[in-house]
C-alpha cells in the first residue's frame, strides 16, 4: 500500500524483555471513594465507575467508608478459602502437567474475587460463573473431591465425562453450569433475575466474565435487558488485564474503565480493587442490597491480574514480561489479607504456614480419594453408554439405536 496505515492498534505497555509498566492503571488511595446510599440515583454515582474502591491501604489497614468491618474470624475464613483455591489450583496444574487430567485453568492472583463475592451473596442467590470462579464452588459447599472427579471425567464426575475439566456446576449450591463459550452466561443471569422478580422473590443473580469477554454480543444483551427491566442482578467484569495473549486494550479498555460500560444504559458501575477482599465484599454487598430492594443491576469491575498462564495450553512468557505480575501495583490478594490480619493481631506467619500445610493435606487427601473413582487411564470407567443420556428429557429412539450400535461395535 502506498500510504501509511492510520489505524490505531492498541499496544500493551510491555512485551517480553521489557520492564513491566502499569502506569496506565488509574489508581486511587484506599478510602478515597465515597459510599453512596443504595438508593442513590445512577446519575449521581457515575464517579464510582472511574474511581477505585479500596479498603486495605498500603499499610494493610482497613480504611474509609467502604470498610465493611467484618470480624477477624470471618476474615480468617476468607483467607482459608483463598488459600485453598490457590493450593488446589497448584496441585491440579501439576496433575495436568503429569498428564493425569487433560486440561486445567487456575485463578492464580484472582482468588479474592470469588471468595469476597461469595461471602456477600445469600445462598438463595444464583451464580452464573466463568471458568475462573472455582472458589465460588468451594465456598458454596462443593467437595474438593467432586471437583477433582469432574476434572478427571471419572465415575463420580458431576458432568458424566461430557465437559472439559473446570466446567463445574452445582445444582444444590445454586451455581449454573460453566460453558466453554465466553459470555453466554451473562444473559442467563439476567433472565434468571427477571424470573425472580416476576415471581416476586428476593433472590438475585450474579454473573462473571473476563475483560476480554466484554466484547461478545451477550455482554451487550445482558446489559440491555438488565437495564430495561431493572433486573436484580450483579454483573461482574474480572479485569485481569489479559485475554489469552491480548491485553485489555483489545477489549476497549484503553480509554475508559470497564465499570463504566453500562453508564449509557443507566447501569451504575463500581470499579473495585480486585485484590482487596474487603473492598470486593463491601462493593458486592452494596450492589446486592441495591438489587434486592428493587434498585436494579450494578456492574462491578474487579481490577486484578492474571498471574498465571491462561490455561495449561498457554505460555504467557511469549507475549508479556515473564514476572509482570510481581510488579502489579495492587499486589497479591492472599498476601494482602494475610498482612492485614497480622497487622490487626489476628494472624501470624506461623499460623499461615500451618494453614497451608493443612490445606495441602486436605487437597492431597481429596486427590487420593478422587482417583479411586477412576482416572484417565485406570478404572473404574464411566459407562460410555451414558453418552446418549440427557440430550433430551427422555432418550428418543434414534439415540437408543445409536447407543445399541455403539455398544455392539465397542464390544466387538
Amino acid at each position: 500500500m502506498a500510504r501509511k496505515s492510520r489505524l490505531h492498534i492498541p499496544r500493551p505497555s510491555a512485551r517480553p524483555g521489557d520492564k513491566p509498566d502499569f502506569s496506565y492503571l488509574d489508581l486511587a488511595p484506599a478510602g478515597s471513594v465515597d459510599k453512596p446510599a443504595i438508593d442513590a440515583r445512577t446519575r449521581d454515582i457515575e464517579h464510582l465507575s472511574s474511581g477505585l474502591v479500596r479498603v486495605l491501604d498500603d499499610k494493610h489497614q482497613a480504611v474509609g467508608p467502604w470498610n465493611p468491618n467484618i470480624d477477624a474470624g470471618q476474615l480468617q475464613i476468607a483467607l482459608r478459602w483463598m488459600l485453598l483455591n490457590r493450593i488446589f489450583d497448584k496441585r491440579m496444574w501439576q496433575i495436568q502437567r503429569q498428564g493425569r487430567i487433560s486440561f486445567y485453568m487456575e485463578a492464580f492472583g484472582e482468588e479474592a474475587v470469588s471468595v469476597g463475592q461469595a461471602m456477600a451473596l445469600r445462598p438463595g442467590d444464583m451464580c452464573f460463573p466463568s471458568y475462573r470462579n472455582q472458589a465460588l464452588f468451594m465456598y458454596r459447599g462443593l467437595k474438593l473431591v467432586d471437583m477433582m472427579c469432574q476434572c478427571l471425567s471419572n465415575t463420580r464426575d458431576m458432568c458424566k465425562g461430557r465437559q472439559l475439566p473446570v466446567m463445574y456446576h452445582g445444582k444444590a449450591a445454586n451455581i449454573f453450569s460453566i460453558s466453554g463459550n465466553l459470555s453466554t452466561q451473562y444473559p442467563h443471569a439476567v433472565g434468571w433475575a427477571m424470573a425472580s422478580a416476576i415471581k416476586g422473590e428476593d433472590h438475585i443473580a450474579a454473573s462473571w466474565v473476563g475483560d476480554g469477554s466484554t466484547a461478545e454480543a451477550d455482554f451487550h444483551h445482558a446489559l440491555t435487558f438488565a437495564a430495561v427491566y431493572q433486573a436484580p442482578v450483579i454483573l461482574n467484569i474480572v479485569n485481569n488485564q489479559w485475554a489469552i495473549s491480548t491485553f485489555q486494550g483489545f477489549a476497549g479498555g484503553e480509554r475508559r474503565s470497564f465499570a463504566s460500560r453500562g453508564l449509557g444504559l443507566g447501569i451504575p458501575g463500581i470499579r473495585v480493587d480486585g485484590n482487596d477482599l474487603l473492598a470486593i465484599y463491601a462493593a458486592t454487598l452494596w450492589a446486592a442490597d441495591r438489587a434486592r430492594r428493587g434498585g436494579g443491576p450494578t456492574l462491578i469491575e474487579l481490577v486484578t491480574y492474571r498471574a498465571g498462564a491462561h490455561s495449561t495450553s498457554d505460555e504467557p512468557s511469549t507475549y508479556r514480561p515473564k514476572d509482570e505480575y510481581k510488579s502489579f501495583p495492587l499486589g497479591d490478594p492472599i498476601d494482602r489479607l494475610k498482612q492485614h490480619l497480622i497487622s490487626i493481631g489476628h494472624w501470624s506467619d506461623a499460623r499461615h504456614e500451618q494453614l497451608e500445610e493443612e490445606l495441602k493435606a486436605e487437597v492431597l487427601a481429596a486427590w487420593k480419594e478422587a482417583q479411586q473413582y477412576g482416572t484417565m487411564t485406570e478404572g473404574p470407567f464411566l459407562d460410555p453408554a451414558s453418552m446418549f443420556d440427557d440430550i433430551y428429557a427422555a432418550t428418543p429412539p434414534h439415540l437408543e439405536s445409536q447407543r445399541r450400535y455403539m455398544l455392539e461395535i465397542e464390544g466387538s
Binding site: 458424566k160 460453558s179 433472565g191 444483551h221 433430551y392 428429557a393
Partner: protein
C-alpha cells in the same frame, strides 16, 4: 369445537397454557401491548398482564438468552422471533446453550424454552422475510424442531412444545396462517373454515411431538412433506390422479422414521417436498434415511422438490416457490421411472 385459522389456533394454545400454568410467560418483539406483528399474541397481555406477556428489546440473542435464564429459574418461557430470518442473532444461544444445558450438567439444569417463529415465503416478503431455516436446527442435537401444517396441529403441537421439558423450535409457515394454500397464487384465497383441521377445540389438548401423520392414504407413491407443501402436495397428487400417500412430518427432529419407512416400503416410490432450499436441506436427511430403510422396495430414485438454491427473490416469489406445477412434474417423473 370452533373454527380457527392458524393464528387463532396458536393464540388459543397460548391462552390455554398461560391460564393453566402460571410459570408460562411470553417474551418477544411487539408481542405485548400490540399483540405481535402477525397477531398471534393479540389480547394476551390485556388478559394476563404485562409481566407475563412481555415486550422485548430488539435483540433476538438477548431474547433467547434471557428466556434460557428464566427457564433455569423455573419459568416456561415462550419466545417469539418475529421472522425466522431473524433467528440467526440468537443462533449461538440456541446451539451452544439451549441445546446443551441438560447434557453438560448431566440433567441437573435444563431450560424448557419454546421458540416460536414464522417461516416460509409467499407473502411478498423478499429474501429477508421468507426463509425456512429448519435444516440447520434439525442438525442440532438437544433441541426439537416442529412445523405444523394446520390449525388443529398447530395448537396441539404448540401446547406439547411448551409443556415439554425439551427446548423446541416451533416453525409457523406464515403463508398458511389464514388458510390452506395449494401453491397457486392466482386462485382466490381459501379459508381454514373449509378444512377439517380448521376445527379446533377451544380447550386444552395436545398432539404428540414425535409422530408424523399420514394425511392422505395411498399406495402408488409416498410424498413426504411438511408445512405449506402438505397442501401443495395434496393438490398436485389430485391433479395427476395418482394414489399418493401423503405424510406430514410435523416433528422434524427427532423424526418419526417408522411412519415414513412403512409407507415407502408399501408404495415403492418417494417424493420429498419442502419450501427451503434443497442443498443440504432437511429433505436430504429424509432421502438419505428413506433410501437406507427402504432400498429394496424402491422402484425409482427418491426425488426432492424444494426451493431453488437461491435467496427468496421478491419479484420471483412464484417462480421460486415449489408450487403445484413443480410437484406435479415431480410426481409424473417419478411415476414414469423404474
Amino acid at each position: 369445537m370452533a373454527q380457527m385459522n392458524m393464528v387463532e389456533a396458536i393464540r388459543s394454545a397460548l391462552d390455554v397454557i398461560l391460564d393453566k400454568d402460571p410459570n408460562v410467560i411470553i417474551l418477544g418483539e411487539d408481542v405485548g401491548y400490540f399483540g405481535g406483528v402477525f397477531r398471534c399474541t393479540d389480547g394476551l397481555q390485556r388478559k394476563f398482564g404485562e409481566h407475563r406477556v412481555i415486550d422485548a428489546p430488539i435483540a433476538e440473542g438477548g431474547i433467547i438468552g434471557a428466556a434460557i435464564g428464566m427457564g433455569i429459574n423455573g419459568l416456561r418461557p415462550v419466545a417469539e422471533i418475529q421472522f425466522a430470518d431473524y433467528i440467526y442473532p440468537g443462533f449461538d444461544q440456541i446451539v451452544s446453550e439451549l441445546a446443551r444445558i441438560r447434557y453438560r450438567s448431566s440433567g441437573d439444569f435444563f431450560s424448557p424454552v419454546t421458540i416460536r417463529t414464522p417461516c416460509g415465503g409467499g407473502i411478498r416478503g423478499g429474501q429477508t422475510h421468507s426463509q425456512s431455516p429448519e435444516a440447520i436446527f434439525a442438525h442440532v442435537t438437544g433441541i426439537r424442531s416442529v412445523m405444523p401444517s394446520n390449525p388443529y396441529d398447530a395448537k396441539g403441537l404448540l401446547i406439547s412444545a411448551i409443556e415439554s421439558d425439551d427446548p423446541v423450535i416451533f416453525f409457523e409457515p406464515k403463508r398458511i396462517y389464514n388458510g390452506p394454500f395449494d401453491g397457486d397464487p392466482d386462485k382466490p384465497a381459501v379459508s381454514w373454515a373449509s378444512h377439517p383441521k380448521g376445527e379446533v377445540p377451544e380447550s386444552y389438548y395436545t398432539v404428540p411431538l414425535d409422530r408424523a401423520e399420514v394425511v392422505v392414504a395411498g399406495d402408488e407413491l409416498t410424498i413426504v412433506t411438511y408445512g405449506t407443501l402438505v397442501h401443495v402436495a395434496k393438490a398436485a397428487a389430485e391433479e395427476v390422479g395418482v394414489r399418493a400417500e401423503i405424510i406430514d412430518v410435523r416433528s422434524l427432529s427427532p423424526l418419526d422414521v417408522a411412519t415414513l419407512a412403512s409407507s415407502v416400503n408399501k408404495t415403492g416410490r418417494c417424493l420429498i417436498a419442502h419450501e427451503a432450499t434443497r442443498f443440504a436441506g432437511y429433505g436430504a436427511e429424509l432421502a438419505a434415511r428413506i433410501q437406507k430403510e427402504c432400498f429394496y422396495s424402491l422402484e425409482a430414485p427418491i426425488s426432492r422438490i424444494a426451493g431453488w438454491d437461491t435467496p427468496y427473490p421478491h419479484a420471483f416469489e412464484w417462480q421460486y416457490f415449489p408450487g403445484k406445477k413443480r410437484v406435479v412434474n415431480g410426481i409424473r417423473k417419478i411415476m414414469e421411472e423404474g
